[in-house]
């Protein structure tokens, strides 16, 4: 496949060739093999083509995102290249699998191969060492977590692979998929709320209390106040944001004005929120009888509901919460705030080094208060997808504890707006997939063990790998600049 000439080939041509090869090979092999096997081979072939043609590809497309020339270094060869191959194949497989729900198999496989081959080109040339390292860390942590979970199962006398197989099968059923997406919408909002605090090195443990109080009051507003559509939803959402913000703002104020640790104050505010919800949620005050044994806020009129998105494309007749769009918007705003605004810069600067931020004229106290406020405002939204999309009232059985799950997911997603998406989906998948296990006589708690192990391993492995990668990168830079010589007179 390699070009005999010594000239360069324009990047788009290589890209086109790779995609063509990947799709053609997958399509042809699909006639003899299972679709996924065909796709793996097709994408791998495309990747091989890209790699073979790499020496002829112009330089500007071959530089890692952190700018150092990485090709040829041992790290690049043993880590970045295999990681990009794995990611390209995985990307192709996932796309083909989703498309397979809609389209006939050969077409889905071919389209998956197209995406996988395109990814192969982009990743081979653009994947930076540090990114690859992060992916590798997550992969390693995942393998480790599966190993630990399998060991626990073995010790309990349960066949691990059969269990995993059952979970995978049940978790990918269309109805499960919708359930997973809906749970992860809620989880995502909670995790973003926590992540805003984490970026500032603030630990908002109070997301739980913030969202429950916000959901109760928003539900009460929606239930008692009959407003025209759109206005109604806007008022309810605004109420939730305000309540969440105020509740977290108390902790922020205490921290700024009195030096009270936000860890302590948010935990206490959680307890107070529990008390207040219990007080308000009685038939003498906000609640009415919903059914026997259950009381809650009066059901909202239909004008306040947010219609769901039919999930026919996943093969299910259930609906995805309409507020998935709100979660997407929150994620986007979070990303933009963090990376594109002055406020986000100051927030990250304060989180990284409070002393440097102060010397640079950042008003640290103001930043602490505002980030706590924003964290609470997002936390206020956590209950809404469920409230406006499904239950339409806040009752005794409204889900609790999501704030704590949010902490785990923010850790798992490394506070990154996209990382959190995957973390939330994984968490929701484990929740959902474990639902089948009791039918087989396997304890459902296995999912909890898996979740806990994953969080621990990801946090630890990521940190270890990240430190190692940082040192490695510094050495590379030292070598590049040729100043790692004995004559350097400087001690750090």
């Amino acid at each position: 496949m390699s070009n005999p000439g010594r000239r360069t080939i324009a990047a788009p041509i290589v890209f086109g060739l790779a995609v063509l090869l990947g799709v053609a090979a997958t399509f042809a092999l699909d006639l003899f093999l299972l679709w996924w096997a065909a796709l793996i081979i097709g994408v791998t072939l495309a990747f091989g083509l890209v790699a073979a043609l790499a020496p002829f590809t112009p330089d500007e497309s071959r530089i890692g995102a952190d700018g150092t020339r990485e090709e040829g270094t041992p790290l690049h060869n043993v880590l970045v290249v295999p990681m990009s191959l794995i990611l390209a194949v995985a990307g192709g497989l996932v796309c083909a699998w989703v498309l397979d729900l809609q389209l006939i198999e050969p077409v889905a496989a071919a389209l998956g191969a197209l995406i996988g081959s395109a990814l192969a080109f982009v990743l081979f040339h653009r994947l930076a060492a540090m990114m690859a390292l992060s992916f590798a860390a997550v992969l390693a942590a995942g393998v480790l977590a599966v190993g630990v979970t399998a060991a626990v199962l073995l010790l309990s006398g349960i066949a691990p692979f059969r269990t995993f197989g059952r979970m995978a099968e049940f978790g990918t059923r269309p109805d499960s998929l919708v359930q997973i997406i809906n749970s992860s919408i809620t989880y995502y909002l909670a995790a973003v709320a926590v992540a805003i605090g984490f970026k500032m090195k603030l630990f908002n443990i109070g997301v739980d209390g913030q969202y429950r109080l916000a959901a109760l009051l928003a539900a009460a507003v929606g239930g008692y106040l009959v407003l025209p559509p759109v206005v109604s939803q806007v008022v309810i959402i605004a109420t939730a944001i305000t309540v969440g913000g105020v509740w977290a703002g108390i902790a922020g104020y205490l921290k700024v004005a009195r030096g009270v640790s936000e860890v302590i104050s948010t935990i206490m505010l959680n307890a107070i929120a529990t008390g207040i919800t219990a007080y308000l949620l009685s038939t003498d005050r906000l609640a009415v009888e919903i059914s026997t044994n259950n009381i809650g806020t009066p059901p909202m009129p239909e004008s306040a509901w947010v219609p769901g998105i039919p999930a026919g494309f996943l093969g299910s007749d259930r609906e995805i919460y309409g507020l998935v769009l709100l979660a997407v918007a929150v994620g986007f705003l979070y990303w933009m705030m963090l990376n594109r605004t002055r406020f986000g810069f100051e927030l990250r600067a304060t989180g990284q080094s409070q002393t440097a931020a102060e010397a640079s004229g950042v008003n640290v106290k103001r930043m602490v208060f505002l980030s706590m406020l924003f964290s609470g405002m997002v936390a206020g939204l956590v209950g809404l997808p469920q409230l406006l999309g499904h239950s339409h009232y806040y009752a005794l059985d409204f889900p609790a504890g999501i704030g704590f799950i949010g902490i785990a997911i923010a850790l798992l997603g490394r506070n990154h707006p996209v990382g959190i998406v995957f973390a939330a989906l994984l968490w929701a998948f484990l929740d959902q997939a474990a639902g089948i296990l009791p039918f087989d006589g396997i304890p459902q708690e296995i999912a909890v063990i898996a979740q806990a192990t994953i969080v621990l391993t990801v946090v630890v492995v990521y940190e270890v790998v990240h430190r190692w990668g940082r040192r490695y990168q510094q050495q590379q830079i030292g070598k590049q600049l040729g100043r790692a010589v004995e004559s350097s007179g400087e001690a750090q």
């Binding site: 990250r348 102060e358 010397a359 640079s360 004229g361 510094q474 400087e490």
Partner: protein, 535 residues
Amino acid sequence: MSSTPSGEGAAGPFAVELRGITKRFPGVVANHDIDITVAPGTVHAIVGENGAGKSTLMKTLYGMHRPDEGHIRIRGEEVRFHSPSDAIRHGIGMVHQHFMLADNLTVLENVVLGAERRHGIGRRARARIQELSAQYGLGVDPDRLMEELGVGDRQRVEILKVLYRGAETIILDEPTAVLVPQEVDELFDNLRELKREGLTVIFISHKLDEVLSVADEITVIRRGTTVATADPRTTTARELATLMVGGELPVPELRESTVTDHVILSLNGVTVLSSEGRPVVDDVTLDIRRGEIVGIAGVEGNGQSELIEAIMGMRRAASGSIALEGQDITDWPTLRIREAGVGYIPEDRHRHGMLLDSPLWENRILGHQTREPSVRGPWINRSGARADSERIVTEYDVRTPNIDVIADALSGGNQQKFIIGREMSAQPHFLVAAHPTRGVDVGAQSAIWEQLREARAAGLAVLLVSADLDELIGMSDTLHVILRGRLVTEADPNSVTPEQLGSAMTGAGLGGADAHTEGGSGAEGTNGNESEGGA
């Protein structure tokens, strides 16, 4: 005693023997081929410039990190320390420059903290402390509350802590940096007492006079390696200084004067109080003019940092006023002061000057997050910040592969050059330069001096705080000495010597040199409104 170590070599093993120690950090070699032998029962001084690798070496000896090459022998026995507790077990103790004491505990509690297993926490511990205190003449009362003690007493508690843990060799890292002269004398008496009792002291310093007065043997470190061993009885401070700098250092000097009459920054009776209400900056009055570099000399911890923080709005002045171009900025927040045209090269660039985990171009925004070209309204202007970072990298010769590497990957000198480029990029009227060449290699040092000279010629007013007396004398138009928060003396940089300055810094006055500027330099205009001789 310097002849005895070799004589004793045959009789008893060395207290500490370091052979061929090499320690590399990413991109730099902090120590290489270090050879030191310390005879028991002596005070062994290790001298070298800032950044020569003294502290790295002592951290190696104390087990805080492991050497890449070389051997450590303690009393003839080869050891490998994995942690400080290993070192303590072998009788090595270290007193850090910054004390590690809990203010709200008593001396007894501080001493036994972490060493409860030795003599418990009660009567036996108290008896042991009193015994040690008497034996070594430390005069420490175990029941005093730590916050009641002065700096000298605290240091004695630190030494006692080390003795309590059974140390026979005590490392003191720059012990005199925080002490006033009387306290230094007391410390030296204590050290002689320790020596008399048979203990070994390793004394890190870059102050030659002190080293000559207390040490039995001196090892000179330059650029990470041992260059000489000297006998204090036959060596002069000048010879030591030559050994320390190696005679190839760039010389800081200003060319013709560029000082004008236009006052940029004016401090009037500025007083800053510590959290305990003690004045750390005491009634400082100072004018800095266009094109003038005003140097502040002083032993570290005499109010320089607090003075800078007051100017930068990071600390509030208790009284007095600060004016920039005639505007009162005393109560302005840091951001507004920076926006008004004040640049800041902080003394600790890792703590105050950089986001080490962020790429270089994001560091361009730091401190300039409200100004072009880094931002556009509330938005970060990525392309603007990146383009300007490229410019800084080129113009200031920052050695980096590109502007996307994290700041931590650069060497100290290149980080510093980038900071200077950043602070200059907003065309400041006034620059606070705190230790601008600390921990910076020789090449970067001369580049930084050249940049300061150019900026001065272009009309910048500079407040230069430094511990490098040659830098201060060479780079200043006007030179003040700060002692216990007061500007006590003004020296003429054209005629003053580092020795005279050094004695003025310890409160002994300039020692015969004319304290006032004389004709010939452009700095004479400053004399009129100085508050001098305050102490």
